[in-house]
């Protein structure tokens, strides 16, 4: 459990870091190391070089305005989680972050690192997709924005190029007519979930549901978002509409079996959690509307 040999650099400017990446197609960015270091130690990854970005200045921000939350590449999960403004502007981010690993790992792991690691079992990628967020990618060639919808292409595979550093993630603010919820089932506290669901429910001023969307982790190859609005066409939420929503969700998911759970059980959890989380998001939506009123 010792990594294969690699060279290591710790650049102090973003340009320097980008140049190092551009110079070596086999190099990898090292952020919090909470995913990469275990892969190195198990020799599942053997990059020729690590470009440690932890000394690059001005990347650890959590910035909030009425549009949303901007999270810098070196903002640790714990810092994002603890930010009261971020929680206010987009509560789903902190709801999901609470379920990412354990405190010690959240103290080092970065939210942006988690987003670009592109694990379909991770909480934050699906939250980014559900909220319609984006990341900013920098390279020696310049800077571009990648929409969340275009980011994930396969298991642990994103459209971020190897010579790019994701400098920032953007989570749009929660609209005034919306409510959110997040829940997951894991074997142990803080483990990657067997199934997790995030939901955003929107309703008009009269309380009639206008949109229900849910994001799923660990039940397909990619972070998957399903539009469940159809099940709530009548504008109300009841057992029947929740059942219909769960049916709709399952049609879009492809849960697989592993040593912890059968595919059937995962599908069952997706059904149970869809109903639970959509109901909670609807309650949240109602509470916010009534709170405003």
């Amino acid at each position: 459990m010792k990594p294969a040999p690699f060279s290591y650099s710790r650049p102090t400017t973003l340009d320097e870091a980008l140049a190092s990446l551009a110079a070596d197609p086999d190099a990898k960015v090292l952020a919090g190391g909470q995913s990469l270091v275990p892969l190195l130690s198990m020799r599942l990854a053997a990059p020729s070089a690590l470009v440690d970005i932890n000394a690059v200045p001005d990347l650890d921000h959590v910035r909030t305005d009425e549009k949303g939350v901007r999270v810098g590449a070196l903002a640790r999960h714990a810092a994002v989680l603890a930010d009261p403004e971020a929680r206010r502007v987009q509560p789903l981010v902190s709801l999901a972050l609470q379920r990412v690993a354990h405190p010690t790992i959240r103290n080092r792991g970065t939210t942006v690192g988690s987003l670009v690691h592109a694990d379909a079992s991770a909480e934050m990628p699906v939250v980014l997709v559900l909220l319609g967020g984006s990341i900013t990618a920098a390279s020696v060639a310049g800077t571009r924005t990648i929409e969340a919808a275009d980011l994930y292409v396969g298991p642990l595979e994103s459209t971020l190029r190897h010579d790019e550093i994701a400098t920032e993630a953007f989570f749009p603010a929660l609209p005034g007519d919306a409510g959110v919820a997040f829940d997951e089932i894991a074997r142990r506290h803080g483990d990657y979930a067997l199934c997790g669901v995030a939901a955003v429910v929107r309703a008009d001023e009269a309380g009639s549901i206008t949109s229900v969307r849910a994001g799923y982790l660990s039940v397909s190859d990619l972070p998957t978002v399903v539009d469940l609005s159809e099940a709530f066409a009548a504008g109300t939420l009841d057992d029947a509409s929740l059942d219909a929503a769960a049916d709709l969700a399952l049609a879009s998911l492809d849960p697989a079996a592993d040593i912890h759970a059968t595919a059937d059980y995962r599908a069952h959890l997706a059904r149970v959690l869809t109903k639970r989380v959509v109901r909670q998001a609807h309650d949240d939506c109602t509470a916010r509307r009534e709170g405003d009123a």
Binding site: P38, H102, I185, H260, T262, Y265, L269, V272
Partner: protein
């Protein structure tokens, strides 16, 4: 009088140092040593056609590489079969490095020694091995079928078949008014100590001595193995056990291949070499336990009293049998627990599979036995519609029946005779502790709210403190400080504390003045090891006896000096004084000075013992039947094991939707005889319960059909976190002293883990209303069982 420390919750002296990170584990010693890394088989079953190590020596920093071809003499022979048994007709052990066949993923094939572990691993990656891959035998059913063989010369994959019988179980079952049969399964888990295996060796070329530091549960065992395999005299080999980060059984196996290969390399290279096992290696090359299939036939009367019990089980011993049949023998005997079936028959097959070896893991076969028995008790209660505690009580051995002879042979080859216990009292305590009689109401209330809760119970008896012996050595220095040594090792149990409590009491010295050393063959060359909940019973007793001898000598010398008789003296706080006349006194340190007639005065204190000061010039300075120095040494060898016992109850809630299993309450009643230190005993129980929760609800060894272990990391092997174990474990003690040893001790090390699978199965069954026959159980499996039983209900009785 000094307050008695025996029985007090004295804070552990070990903790301050260990919690501050000041422990000294094998890997902390000799930072400059060379490092070894081992090439392990990637296949479960294969013949080795060729090994090419040429590319290895090109790696900068590599010092040596070894394969079986490089082993000479006894090192080239298979590893020892440590515990032979007449029924182990087909015992097999592996080579330190595989010769021509490998039988599990992880078996050692080659070892590289390099300047550090990184380089050693790089080099290991470059070894090329040609394999002829053979079909593996995985799982007990496949082993039992015997279509494929692990070892060509072991038909049916059967290492042993053993049978024991008292009375005529089959006839009794046939004649019984009621009969039941059960088929049960328990899966594998493993010890998973925080520190893996670790060995460091240094060969002193000048003095021709081998020094080995190893993370073991038996320093003397490793010493004997190293000496015999490397052709050294025992006197040339020292084995020292530094701090050990947990053992739980896996480190009683010896010698592990690396415990021989590292000293061998250290001698060959003339440089210190260490091997520090990593976690993946621990999963695939250190021992596992627990896997069994069981079939129970039982006959009973209207009260649920056992009339005949016949058990057959199939025990997965993995690829080799270095530790003999200890685990299945314990299952087959300890299965009986606190009960007395008049007629009992047990047959087991110990079977080879192409998986990691199986050797004792805390509980050592008992969890499986208790599971079989307690599942049976619950099945009888369900069948008769009786309370589960009533059926158990109907079968208890009664307090006036001790010593109770089961008529069987135990794991130590001695009769299975229980020394003491009070099972009805234990049960009453447990029922009170967990409000057993009120649970009906709680279950009904929960049901009315749409919740599912259940209570489980499981009872066990644990043979502890097995022989053959341990020793104690107590030495009073001229400072009055007391140095104690015992040969068995410590893995975090708190021996330094508990043994110091015993010595402080026996000798009348302050606790702080007692220092205890364990597991160092330079101090204690004769010893067995730490396993089978035996440390307190064996070394505790031996140390007490040694302290008593020391005390006798103290009083004899003091009586001379104070011109009185030993009977008139007492020792208080390190001072010997005349009872009732505390003015007439002499310090223990002074007695130590007097005990050693000296030629030279090297400090103020020693002047008192020089030749012109003390002694009767007409007699030899050391009397004929005496020895210089203030020391006491003794051994304790018990006639047979002591038998601790306990009962656990757990209340669980199972989520009606997600099938998640939550622990609401966990209660333990525990009788390990007299308690030396309740804090330590409760710590042992807590740790055991935590491991038990792991074994019952989380952990398994996920071997696929190719014999690959799919969860060989802490990411996928679900050892419970602190968030998964009960926040509070309610404990009540009963102290039924053992008549077999001087302190009335039993043993507590394994207790907490023994009834776990049984008690959780019992509680989940109670919550769900259908039988639980396979453990551990995950939410996914519980969900599948629910579907299965719903389907059966829908199909109706005629389907």
């Amino acid at each position: 009088m000094t307050t008695k420390l025996f029985g007090q919750a004295v804070q552990r002296v070990e903790d301050d140092r260990l919690l501050r990170g000041q422990g000294q584990y094998t890997d902390d010693l000799m930072p400059g040593a060379l490092h070894a890394a081992v090439l392990r088989s990637p296949h479960a079953h294969a013949r080795i056609l060729a090994i090419d190590v040429d590319a290895v020596l090109d790696v900068e920093g590599v010092v040596a590489v070894y394969t079986h071809e490089d082993l000479v003499g006894a090192m080239a022979e298979p590893l020892p079969l440590l515990i032979p048994h007449p029924t182990l007709t087909h015992g097999r052990t592996q080579y330190a490095l595989a010769r021509d066949e490998i039988n599990y993923v992880g078996e050692a094939i080659a070892m590289v020694v390099a300047v550090d572990r990184y380089v050693a691993e790089d080099a290991v990656d470059r070894i090329r091995v040609d394999y002829d891959v053979l079909p593996p035998v995985v799982g007990i059913e496949n082993a039992r079928d015997g279509d494929l063989l692990v070892h060509d010369d072991v038909p049916g994959n059967r290492a042993a078949r053993m049978e024991q019988q008292v009375g005529d179980a089959e006839a009794a079952i046939a004649a019984a008014p009621h009969r039941l049969s059960l088929d049960l399964q328990v899966e594998r888990s493993a010890c998973m100590p925080m520190e893996g295996r670790a060995t460091l060796a240094r060969w002193d070329t000048d003095s021709r001595r081998m020094q080995v530091w190893t993370s073991t549960q038996t320093s003397t065992g490793v010493r004997a193995a190293v000496a015999s395999k490397l052709g050294l005299d025992l006197g040339q080999v020292d084995v020292i056990t530094p701090d050990v980060g947990g053992g739980f059984g896996v480190k009683i196996v010896h010698p592990w291949p690396e415990e021989l290969l590292v000293p061998m390399a250290a001698r060959a290279l003339g440089r210190p070499v260490k091997f520090i096992e990593d976690r993946r290696e621990h999963f695939i090359s250190s021992a596992h336990e627990r896997g069994q299939l069981q079939h129970v036939d039982v006959g009973f009367d209207d009260d649920g009293r056992l009339l005949g019990l016949s058990v057959q089980f199939w025990h997965d011993n993995g690829a080799y049998t270095p530790y003999g049949l200890i685990v299945p023998i314990i299952t087959s005997t300890q299965l009986l627990g606190p009960y007395k079936p008049d007629n009992y028959k047990v047959v087991f097959d110990s079977l080879y599979t192409n998986t990691v070896i199986v050797t004792p893991y805390r509980g050592a076969g008992r969890p499986q036995g208790v599971y079989a028995m307690e599942r049976t008790m619950d099945a009888i209660a369900a069948y008769l519609g009786k309370d589960r505690t009533e059926v158990r009580a109907a079968n208890f051995i009664q307090p006036d029946e001790f010593p109770y002879d089961h008529g069987l042979l135990f794991q130590d080859g001695r009769p299975l005779i229980y020394d003491s216990g009070d099972y009805p009292a234990s049960l009453e305590k447990l029922k009170a502790l967990v409000d057993w009689d009120d649970f009906e109401r709680i279950r009904d209330e929960a049901r009315a709210e749409g919740r599912k809760v259940g209570i489980g119970i499981a009872c066990y008896v644990e043979g502890t403190g097995v022989g053959p012996y341990e020793g104690g050595h107590v030495h009073v220095e001229t400072s009055g400080k007391v140095k104690v040594s015992t040969g068995l090792t410590s893995q975090g149990q708190g021996h330094q504390t508990a043994f110091a409590q015993i010595v402080a009491d026996e000798l009348g010295v302050p606790f702080e003045d007692v220092e205890v050393v364990t597991g160092d063959t330079r101090r204690s060359p004769y010893s067995v090891g730490t396993f089978a909940s035996r440390a307190a019973v064996m070394s505790g007793s031996a140390i007490a006896l040694a302290a008593r001898k020391t005390r006798e000598k103290v009083l004899r010398i003091a009586a001379d000096a104070l011109e009185t008789t030993p009977e008139d003296l007492e020792i208080v706080n390190g001072v010997v004084q005349v009872k009732g006349a505390p003015g007439s006194r002499i310090e223990l340190g002074t007695i130590a000075v007097l005990s050693n007639p000296l030629r030279y005065a090297f400090d103020e204190a020693s002047k008192a013992a020089t030749q012109f000061v003390v002694g009767d010039p007409s007699k030899p300075p050391v009397a004929e039947d005496d020895e210089p120095g203030l020391e006491g040494k003794d051994f304790y060898s018990p006639p047979r094991s002591t038998f601790a016992n306990g009962m656990h109850a757990v209340v669980v809630e199972t989520d009606p939707e997600t099938a998640e299993i939550t622990i609401l309450r966990y209660a333990v009643v525990h009788d390990c005889g007299n308690l030396i230190n309740p804090l330590i005993v409760e710590g042992q129980v807590h740790g055991g319960v935590a491991q038990g929760v792991g074994g019952a609800l989380y952990e398994r060894m996920a071997y696929n059909e190719h014999g690959q272990l799919e969860n060989a990391s802490f990411m996928d092997f679900l050892m419970p976190y602190v968030s998964e174990v009960p926040k509070r474990i309610e404990i009540d003690h009963l102290e039924t002293p053992s008549p077999l040893n001087p302190l009335g001790l039993k043993g507590a090390g394994e207790a907490g883990v023994i009834p776990s699978a049984a008690v959780f199965a019992s509680a989940i069954e109670d919550a769900e209303g259908f039988p639980i026959t396979s453990m551990p159980i995950s939410p996914s499996e519980l969900f599948a069982l629910r579907l299965h039983h719903e389907q059966k209900l829908q199909e109706g009785p005629h389907a």
